[in-house]
Symmetry: C2
Subunit: 355 residues, 2 copies
């Protein structure tokens, strides 16, 4: 504790970050003639899912969205199994024209079968952005799409977006981004990690960011998003550390031809295995984001770079209590931002459905 700063870093809770999106969503809603309707599908007796469903309802009602909670399986009747009827409920909501958005309270069956269910949700109603098409666009840095492409084959080659502007070109709309990674990006924008003086699509240039977790729901899409926005991202999981970047890599070896000759960065991130240890990644990271679902996993404060920004995304606390002795900013949770990303997606999808 002898090296601790005399002054602690800022603690930023999600509320002030969420506030700007609450206003944005409220204003957009006020201009609509038809209230968007969200259906939540609850198929298990899981307490966190149940309380998240109640939280969704409360937020929707407060803001003026229609919300219907559809229970099925064990959530509807003790005689039914966990998850019973959930696929049928999704298909019914896909086909119901009065419904504009669908959210399913996962986990239900486990990662594999849940992933199957995520593909059953129509991409036109997928407020969580979990459909393969949206992941594909994200990984390929395809930011603007024709709404019709949500009907088309995902295997159609589309060029990554060369960005000049934040606004979609005529005839296109923004692709939907998965809620949790997007909430993290918005939190980083709020804390100044994204530099708005830089051109859109490259505003994280110059930042080194460690992301601990490489799941398909949070860590990997987040690493890709940040790298597509210009950051150098160290993606850490149990087995390996990878570097996500769209620029030529910083060469430890000057004979590396790539870094010497490449003049321009790739239109989307590429991934390299890294030789760095977690300790070494943390030592050079301006931002550390952790989403490890374990109550015992803790990032050592002493390993952090002085003045870095730390974001905890796990339901457990992945940072030590004294994290603000090193971090300039610490965000302990982003869930309250995530719900607004979901409602923003709902507003967009309602528009896309009209095309």
């Amino acid at each position: 504790m002898t090296t601790a700063s005399p002054r602690k870093g800022l603690l930023i809770k999600a509320d002030p970050i969420a506030a700007q999106f609450r206003d944005e969503v409220k204003q957009a809603l006020a201009q609509l003639s038809c209230r968007p309707k969200l259906v939540g599908i609850l198929a298990t007796t899981s307490a966190p899912s149940k309380s998240y469903a109640e939280f969704t309802r409360k937020q929707c009602e407060e803001l003026g969205f229609d919300f219907v909670l559809k229970t099925t399986g064990a959530a509807a009747s003790p005689e039914l199994g966990e998850g019973d009827g959930v696929e049928e409920a999704i298909i019914e909501a896909n086909e119901d024209e009065s419904i504009h958005g669908i959210m399913v309270y996962f986990p239900i069956f486990g990662a594999q079968q849940d992933h199957y269910l995520q593909q059953v949700v129509s991409p036109f109603k997928d407020v969580e952005g979990l459909h393969f098409k949206f992941h594909y666009n994200l990984y390929h840095n395809i930011r603007f799409i024709e709404p019709k492409s949500l009907l088309g084959s995902v295997a159609t080659p589309i060029a990554p977006t060369e960005l000049e502007t934040e606004e979609p070109p005529a005839g296109t709309v923004k692709s939907i981004i998965p809620c949790t990674p997007l909430a993290i990006v918005k939190s980083l924008e709020f804390t100044g990690v994204y530099n708005r003086i830089l051109p859109y699509g490259d505003r994280a240039y110059g930042k080194t960011i460690t992301v601990i977790n490489r799941s398909e729901v949070v860590g990997r899409p987040l690493a890709a998003l940040l790298a597509n926005d210009g950051a150098r991202v160290m993606s850490v999981d149990i087995d390996s550390i990878q570097e996500y970047t769209k620029r030529p890599r910083v060469a430890s070896n000057p004979s590396s031809s790539e870094s010497m000759t490449a003049q321009r960065y790739h239109p989307r991130h590429i991934v390299h295995p890294s030789n760095l240890t977690l300790h070494e990644c943390l030592a050079i990271s301006d931002v550390v984001i952790s989403a490890v679902p374990s109550p015992t996993y803790k990032i050592k404060t002493e390993w952090l770079k002085d003045g870095c920004i730390c974001v905890n995304v796990a339901s457990d606390k992945n940072f030590e209590k004294d994290v603000r002795d090193k971090a300039s900013i610490y965000i302990p949770a982003v869930g309250k931002v995530t719900i607004f990303m979901l409602l923003r997606n709902l507003l967009r999808l309602q528009q896309y459905q009209q095309v």
Copy 2:
């Protein structure tokens, strides 16, 4: 051992089962003007993947298919990481019109990211049948599709097939079925589990089948296939036992309204939680199929129903050495059948591509 039959059950290896498909594939190939070309994508240094790639090559060359092995990542160069470049290799093969089928040697990154990659393979070239669209059709008992639907939205509702004939109606083709579950079904047909006197689509009626494993790659699609074909399937995994059936359930409780009033079976299977134990499932099962990836997992021979048929799908042996003391037929492996299912799918997809 006092209750063991004096005569052991039959040991049936995959070769005689594969033989009929070898002939079928050879004949179909002889009638084509253009040799189908399969590309195998190997992105890891995994020894089983490497030897499976060599096995694919050998089978293709022997039968007269063109086979190209594309190596990438650690399989191509020790300087590259496991899986590097695999998505790009898939996209290139999707776009290459000279290639009719793509197979990717999994596992690469682990279940979640591998599932993402399975969606990147164009369904028109997905010889393994791992694309979501094929799984969706399988789970919904949609056997015949318009080839164009492979381009369309997966969320479009399609009615399950009411079967009168094995032949697709005009303008439709058969949906692709994942190779391993299909190889198991074909092995059951070979051993007489499917009764060809019964109408197509209901030939497993009257059979009770236990399937141990409920992964999205083998166990769950297999349980659905068998139940859609009329069987009563007990689907067993670590956490739970479920019953897959398209008929009203056998009621233990005569007040169960469903079994008393339903006159006709569902067009596709439905799933119920089961109260039976594994022991009880095995005691009533005519067929036991096991795919548990563990060298220590063993099904107790004494629990098997006398005269049942046992199929081992795992790379480890899930049955005890004395399994044939109880089983009338034991199939220790189906891998040699699976490769022919893959080549049959290749021949079909080549046709679908021409539509």
